[in-house]
């Protein structure tokens, strides 16, 4: 069952990948990239995986599952769910990830990649919003120091 999601969060100008890759020879050797995509920090089981485990070598506009089945970027949650099965189950139930919309009607889903960088999926720390004022600070602001 496909889930309706917003467009995948591509870096600007990167898609379609075939824009560059179309005529290029395919090098299936695992290696460190030095000419392109050097901005990608890969920290996602890097010991065991690399680009072509998820990206399709023959048509770069697609991803592929472990079975070899091609899937679009829109359905990338299926790819993530191969390893993170229980997260996929929770996500489908609306429990993993953010939902907006209607509790009794249409809900908007996000792709895994909207919150987790697939190349480096750990959720990045955020700056917190300001702490609440202490009650003493509120009184002082209104009446001056007692």
């Amino acid at each position: 069952m496909a889930v309706e999601v917003p467009p995948p969060p591509f870096s600007e100008g990167i898609f379609p990948c075939t824009g560059c890759h179309a005529g290029m020879p395919v090098n299936r050797n695992r290696r460190v990239l030095t000419e392109m995509h050097t901005d990608i920090v890969f920290k996602h089981d890097a010991e065991h995986r690399w680009c072509l485990d998820c990206h399709d070598a023959t048509d770069r506009d697609w991803l592929h599952l472990a079975s070899g089945e091609r899937i679009s970027f829109q359905e990338s949650y299926k790819l993530c769910g191969q390893c993170h099965g229980e997260k996929l189950r929770d996500w489908r139930a609306g429990v993993h990830g953010r939902r907006t919309g209607y509790w009794n009607g249409a809900k908007q889903y996000l792709l895994c990649a909207h919150c987790h960088n697939p190349h480096n999926p750990r959720f990045r720390p955020l700056a917190p919003k300001p702490a609440p004022l202490r009650p003493t600070a509120i009184t002082e602001a209104r009446h001056g120091r007692q």
Binding site: V95, R98, W103, P125, L126, P128, P132, I138
Partner: protein, 291 residues
């Protein structure tokens, strides 16, 4: 009986008693009445008047809804403690949605930072944490607002009957009926109720014009207020503001009676807890661990 004038009811006495009773009846029937006892027609009239008052005061088109509870709905909330990073986005989304006073500052959600080593420990919790980045190592975060208890201590102590549980489970306050005695604040074990010591102030531009009479309409000075599960949104089918803003998706909301809802999935499949369970308040606000 010999026909002489006994101590019985004289004509004059009967007439004056009857007049007093009639006057009393008219005054109670037509005078100010508590919202939950008002007939719908009168509520509609009162809401129209509120629309006008708030629209003039804030210079924008304000609508005050009086939407009643939806049939077959029991609201519940769940918050994933394994995901919350303590960023306080929910606190400020709530302030904006629910027209909370900016000065003096009043916030319905309080995020408590706790030590992982100690577990849930209110005595050593810190609401004023302020690091450059969250989450901090070794700490976890417990946002606390009204728990919408099914056995709510706050509604029992109100001497005015100004706070009660609605049929969909939302604990509400009638701001026109609250006398400001703050008994409910003393009764609440979660510190979820807040008092307006002075007239709350909200910049006109920041006022959310979509209001509910038991929810986010601006409060007068001298009354208590608290989370209403965003009654103005949830009774229209929408998620509460805090659910939609949470960047880690830790906040979940839905109908307990709908077996396909997120909330039922969580209760059926996750490790769920409530705060201060030993007090038997039976909160509708659950905390859970998704991992």
């Amino acid at each position: 009986m010999d026909g002489s004038k006994g101590p019985g009811l004289s004509r004059r006495r009967f007439a004056s008693c009857a007049t007093a009773a009639a006057a009393g009846w008219i005054m109670t029937a037509c005078g100010p009445r508590q919202l939950r006892e008002m007939p719908r027609a009168r509520i509609r009239k009162a809401l129209k008047q509120l629309d006008r008052e708030y629209s003039t005061r804030y210079g924008k088109n304000v609508t005050v809804s009086g939407a009643p509870a939806l049939p077959g709905v029991q609201f519940a909330y769940a918050l994933d403690l394994s995901r919350c990073i303590g960023c306080r986005r929910c606190v400020y989304a709530c302030v904006e949605e629910n027209n909370q006073s900016r000065d003096p500052q009043l916030q319905w959600i309080r995020v408590l930072s706790m030590e992982k080593e100690k577990g849930i420990d209110f005595a050593h919790a810190d609401a004023y944490y302020n690091p450059a980045q969250v989450p901090e190592p070794g700490r976890f975060y417990v946002p606390v607002a009204c728990q919408h208890c099914r056995n709510a201590p706050c509604t029992k102590v109100c001497p005015a009957g100004a706070t009660w549980t609605e049929p969909d489970g939302i604990v509400v306050i009638d701001y026109d009926w609250c006398i400001g005695c703050r008994y409910c604040m003393a009764a609440c074990p979660y510190g979820a109720r807040h008092f307006n010591w002075t007239e709350p102030s909200i910049p006109k531009n920041d006022v959310n014009p979509r209001m509910h009479v038991l929810g986010n309409r601006p409060r007068p000075a001298g009354v208590v207020e608290k989370c209403t599960f965003c009654i103005q949104r949830t009774r229209a089918g929408r998620y509460p503001a805090c659910v939609e803003v949470c960047p880690v998706g830790a906040r979940k909301f839905g109908n307990l009676l709908d077996k396909d809802s997120e909330i039922r999935y969580i209760i059926d499949n996750k490790r769920v807890l409530v705060l201060k369970e030993e007090l038997n308040t039976l909160p509708r606000f659950f905390y859970f661990y998704a991992t």
